[in-house]
Symmetry: C2
Subunit: 301 residues, 2 copies
């Protein structure tokens, strides 16, 4: 079954303690789409400017991602520029240029409308609602969000929550949103806002999956070298959604557990290179091997 | 087999956002000994002042902990006073009165000398070395430490590391000690200092277990209400050591995995009350039930 990924496709400038790279492909949808493409066919919805390099579109197409839903607009592409410090958990955003995103009005091509799993990558809740309005009622909808939307588009975000099957966000955002310092309380309160399940990502620690009656904790893959963590959360989302779409049935809680592990595996590979370079070069054996490694790292009898 | 627990026995004043309690039993050895006592017989080595309340000694004895090694000295007991903030991960120490600890010179009663598992709770590395010098060569030695000793007794701490089987410390301390921002690098570097295995505790996230060829990640038990987290790390140590002593053989890596889970289970119960109140009231069924719950929260197929 197909995954529809909607979100941003960006040009990123990224500085780390060891390197600086410009005009990298970034954006929530680009990362999520490539991660999902290892599990299921992917269709992408986004917007770029006329300046967007053809080579980046080719990177998506090389993963058989359908790019028919990427609008190429007059104006410049969305740009993000940021820097990671010695502690790679600590990031400074130097600049954000919204550019073509300002007027983004996502339109799904007709052949996208039967997608089984919908990924609403990080973008404005308004754009997320635009996509929800176009997809089939029976689709499984997963939404990501971040602090700026919690603060600047609170009402729309609450409407998004009432319409999705799964919400994914990170720990500081979950606590901010639910006004609590306890991550477990945050997860349970978010469940009360509408989603059937909630995933709270905890960065280098992993992720927590909350259901009304169930709970799962997924540990991150241990990495001694983190080259560039940009997009790790989006790759988690992509691996998660790609696995669900591959099931060809409504997911059970055991499926969501496995989806978390696929997400954490894809996020870990993503941290091992700038942009989507490591991801793009993965094989099925790499992914399955790391999935089994995570099992070995977390199971006990 | 027996566990010998050496460390501090203290009087704590603890303030949380919801309560204030005075003259509680605290100290690394008190918490670790009670946690260990649910798995194996425990012998305690510490020092208190003449002011130490008999009721706290009775709490230890009620768990069949041998208190022959608790020296009752002239002077006042070791005291700690601290406050937890709205975010219970955030703690302020208001005062520490070393008192009788100043002259602590641990002397093991003869009948302690055959203990199979030795827990060197958080105390000065000098005192940890004093204990190591008295125990049998074949005993399995576990040491905890904290930031003040990393900074104030670096050379002695390095000597401790060269003599123990397992080091346990928390993530910020591991990074401080090994001068890195990467927790995986910290664990591997600590292994290079002597211990056969290293556990890095990550608070509400759980703990990581490092071996030269192996790795395990244990997720914490999810708690919506944390009453008082004082001593959680010591209880982890106690549950861990108590399980190992119950095996009656040299531990394999699979045993250390289970020991981590027993540690995290005891730490979680500890967070549900002030001092050792919840711990003291536990049953075997409580502990086994939570062990199985953690398995259910972390396993996938």
């Amino acid at each position: 079954m197909n995954v529809l990924v909607a979100g941003t496709v960006a040009l990123d400038n990224v500085k780390t303690p060891s390197a600086y790279r410009e005009d990298l492909m970034g954006g929530s949808a680009a990362y999520a789409a490539i991660a999902a493409s290892f599990f299921s066919p992917v269709r992408l919805v986004s917007i770029v400017g006329k300046d967007f390099p053809e080579q980046h579109i080719e990177t998506l197409k090389a993963r058989d991602i359908c790019t028919d839903g990427i609008e190429v607009s007059d104006g410049e592409s969305f740009r993000w520029s940021g820097e990671y410090h010695e502690d790679m958990n600590d990031r400074t955003t130097h600049s954000v240029a919204i550019n073509v995103l300002e007027a983004f009005d996502p339109k799904l091509p007709d052949h996208y409308l039967d997608s089984a799993v919908i990924v609403l990558g990080n973008m404005s809740p308004k754009n997320q609602l635009d996509v929800i309005g176009q997809v089939a009622d029976e689709s499984y909808i997963i939404a990501d969000t971040m602090d700026i939307w919690i603060q600047a588009a609170h009402a729309e975000l609450i409407e998004v929550l009432s319409k999705v099957d799964l919400l994914v966000l990170n720990d500081s955002e979950a606590k901010l949103f639910m006004e609590t310092n306890n991550i477990i309380v945050a997860g349970k309160k978010l469940l009360g806002m509408g989603p059937k399940h909630v995933v709270i990502k905890t960065g280098e620690h992993g992720a927590l999956l909350f259901g009304n009656e169930e709970f799962f904790r997924c540990g991150a893959y241990p990495l001694e070298v983190v080259e560039d963590p940009t997009g790790a959360g989006d790759c988690f989302l992509g691996g998660f959604a790609g696995h669900l779409a591959s099931l060809k049935r409504a997911p059970e809680f055991a499926d969501l557990r496995r989806a978390c592990i696929h997400g954490t595996v894809m996020a870990s590979f993503n941290c091992q290179s700038f942009s989507t370079e490591r991801l793009s070069a993965l094989t099925e054996a790499d992914i399955n091997g790391r999935f089994e490694e995570v099992k070995g790292f977390t199971h006990f009898d």
